[in-house]
């Protein structure tokens, strides 16, 4: 499925079997977005930047 980038209107390919939390990136602007669902509708929100410090 193809979804418009919320930032630059570029075209983001999202796998048909995408699940909530999946991270996709825009090929045009490089921004990363997290998949979420409102009812049945797939939406994208800005992905949080998470630093790599995960404990022992």
């Amino acid at each position: 499925m193809k979804v418009r980038c919320p930032d630059c209107e570029g075209e983001i390919k999202v796998p048909d079997d995408a699940i909530a939390g999946e991270i996709v990136s825009c090929p045009d602007c490089g921004q990363e977005f997290e998949v979420y669902f409102e009812g049945e509708e797939l939406k994208l929100k800005q992905a949080e930047t998470v630093k790599e410090d995960w404990g022992e």
């Binding site: 699940i19 991270i23 790599e52 404990g55």
Partner: protein, 270 residues
Amino acid sequence: MVVVVKFGGDLVANKEVLDRLAQDIAEVSEKDKVVVVHGGGDVVTMIAEKLGKPQVFITSPDGFRSRYTDKETAEIYMMVMAGKINKEVVISLLKAGVKALGVSGVDGGLLRAERKKRLVIIDERGRKRAIEGGYTGRIMGVNVEMLKGLLEMGFVPVVAPVALGDENEVLNVDGDRAAAHIAGALKAETLVLLTDVDGVMIDGKLVDKMSLSKARSALKRVGAGMITKLYATIEALEEGVEKVIIASGLKERPVTSSLMGRGTVITVGD
């Protein structure tokens, strides 16, 4: 001189290695102020499994593998890190004549951390995904006055990498990063990160010296086990530590020989 020494679970789990390390710390602490930070993730995994709680591991997009710390795991983590492992290290140091005092990051609010609400992983389908963060934390503060007080009293503090979150929850924090923040807060001259390899290996060769900028660029070129040490190195140098040494803890007099330049020595400039 203030030296922070961190060693991991592979060294803690081997009594002979631990006792040898303790002898060396005894020697170093005669002239320098020493803070010890230990790891022990493998021991936590082993005990958790014995308790019927198999551990789940997740991988970050950069290849960093870590345990998934749910509430029950956080409780086991605290028991093992702040209990069994911390006390075994303290006993080994006491045997070697070191005035060792064990504390976890919870005691005295020594390590304050921000709970990571989300983690980004590579899931079982090989895709990037954000999941609930569980009980791991990013260190935000160190009670440096407490550590200074203990050092002034002649103690060698032995710190377990357990931190206290904003809502007073117990958090699993990485030992290398804990050591880096402690070294930074103390303005320690040297942070020694002991591991089971000779130092930072790039293209199969040991790197004997590195600058901060080279350490940053090496992040993509080292194995998963070394990534966390390089992140810790970068944080320590950025916080004002003069020198970080990554070296093998399996050698004779591992701390003394590291301070003399064995392993990989990383400084801000070239």
